[in-house]
């Protein structure tokens, strides 16, 4: 899918501190419409914090973020309106445990978007079908596998018709044999032109699906570029070292 020149997200000089520890030390980047951006890097380097700052599930200390023309970080912005336009997929799914798959997807349509029930149901079923789970609509989260739960949570986010999808290590909590089904859904989304930011340890996915890759460490962006550059010809020694370790572990950078 072609990446347009229209900028969907702009992050400028983002800072976040927890106590004495500075998690984000001035991060800036942009994402264009239709672009899939992978953020990779060692654990505990602020990747997830960065993602959560974008929809302000975590409040940044300093810096500004825009979604198209709206400044997300402005105190005058209705953050609930913004969040409807930004899908968020959690590492541990966080499906509403008391609701069926269908109701998980439908809840936001009914209560936030205030759609009539019939329309919301049709929309929700459509999204469940999109992630290949239409026949599991009446099951509760505890009756679904991890991979299925994550796909429902993707459908839940998609149902709100977002301009941007954020994925926070969406496959890290999954058994190895369930990772594929989730990545497949994400790949399809990317191909359909969804703008997305994916924090991931799946180097194969970052390499083959994403248009841009950011390597982050210790709260700063170490290197950024198209996947060919990052994976075959990294400019920074630290990037090379990190990817070297990964390929040692998994045999080849393509995991």
């Amino acid at each position: 899918m072609a990446v347009s020149s229209k900028i969907i997200v702009r992050v400028e000089d983002l800072h976040k501190r927890y106590g004495s520890e500075e998690i984000l030390k001035g991060v800036s980047f942009t994402v264009r419409q239709g672009e899939a951006l992978a953020i990779i890097g060692p654990s505990g380097t602020g990747k997830s914090t960065l993602l959560r700052c974008i929809n302000r599930l975590t409040e940044p200390d300093r810096g500004r973020i825009w979604l198209e023309e709206t400044e997300i970080t402005s105190p005058h912005t209705d953050i609930n309106k913004i969040r409807q336009q930004i899908g968020f997929v959690f590492q541990d799914f966080n499906l509403f445990a008391h609701l069926t798959a269908l109701d998980n997807v439908r809840l936001g349509l009914l209560k936030v978007k205030k759609l009539p029930k019939k329309e919301a149901t049709e929309r929700a079923m459509h999204e469940l079908a999109r992630v290949g789970l239409a026949e599991h609509a009446q099951k509760y989260p505890a009756q679904l596998s991890g991979g299925q739960q994550q796909r429902v949570s993707i459908a839940r986010a998609l149902a709100m018709d977002p301009k941007l999808m954020l994925f926070d290590e969406p496959t890290s909590a999954l058994d190895p044999e369930l990772i594929g089904e989730v990545l497949q859904v994400m790949q399809k989304l990317a191909e359909e032109g969804m703008t997305m930011i994916v924090v991931t340890h799946e180097m194969g996915f970052a390499r083959s699906v994403c248009d841009q890759v950011i390597f982050m460490e210790k709260g700063v962006i170490v290197e950024q570029g198209p996947p060919e550059q990052i994976f075959t010809n990294p400019q920074q020694p630290r990037t090379r070292q990190f990817l070297g370790k990964i390929s040692e572990l998994y045999g080849g950078a393509g995991r």
């Binding site: 599930l57 969040r83 959690f90 008391h98 936001g108 936030v112 509760y140 505890a142």
Partner: protein, 233 residues
């Protein structure tokens, strides 16, 4: 009356005759006990949920007020609370009849205990549930109403059953301020015929049956509301 004719047929001084004679009054008292219990538990339910939400989600002031309330109520005897309401409030020109005073007193008392059950249930729900609700654009209140409370209320049923049973039994202290409930009815009957043992044996039996029925109903409710993966953890 037909009921009295039925009683006439039983042996003059026997237990059955006594039971038969006092049954209508005890049934009346049981009905009052039931009314008192249900209204008090309902008041306690509403108050308890608000107090629990105040303690979990409230700002400093709300947290402090709800915590102080819970501590005060749990730290003082229910009898003292009833006396404050029934004998104390008239000082401020607020006069309640004994049953109303008992309903309010037991309800306010129950609210403090229920608040702690609800607080435990709310806090047992993973933080991710709230995050996920906020992430699709829900306000805090929507998230509490549609995601947190429906789960908390299911989790709370087993411990909450105890509270309902306690309230039913504790409602007997209302006889001290003269509310015409089951205990008071038994007291009046026994003080006239001096058959304390038999009368209170029957009273005890009625309480027992009520408790068993309530336990069963709550079991059924728990089963009906059961959702896979949402058992008491």
């Amino acid at each position: 009356m037909k009921w009295e004719q039925l009683c006439q047929g039983l042996a003059e001084e026997g237990f059955l005759r006594l039971a038969c004679d006092i049954a209508p009054r005890l049934i009346q008292g049981t009905a009052t006990t039931f009314q008192l219990t249900m209204l008090a538990i309902g008041l306690g339910l509403a108050g308890g949920i608000l107090l629990a939400l105040g303690r979990v989600y409230g700002n400093k002031l709300i947290y402090w007020v709800s915590t102080a309330y819970v501590q005060f109520v749990r730290g003082t005897p229910v009898l003292v609370q009833l006396f404050l309401i029934y004998y104390g409030l008239p000082t401020f020109e607020i006069r309640l009849d004994s049953l109303t005073a008992a309903i309010i007193g037991l309800g306010l008392n129950s609210a403090a205990y229920q608040a702690e059950y609800f607080r435990g249930a709310i806090q047992s729900i993973s933080r991710g549930q709230m995050l996920a609700a906020r992430a699709i654009g829900m306000t805090n209140l929507q998230a509490i109403r549609y995601v947190i409370l429906p789960q908390a209320l299911r989790i709370v049923i087993p411990p909450w059953s105890n509270e309902l049973i306690y309230t039913l039994k504790y409602s007997s202290v209302a006889f001290i301020i003269g509310a015409p409930e089951l205990m008071a009815t038994g007291q009046i009957i026994a003080s006239r015929n001096f058959r304390y043992f038999e009368v209170f044996l029957i009273v005890a039996f009625i309480y027992l049956v009520c408790v068993l029925i309530i336990s069963k109903l709550l079991d059924i409710a728990e089963q009906k509301l059961k959702i896979p993966g949402l058992e008491m953890r």
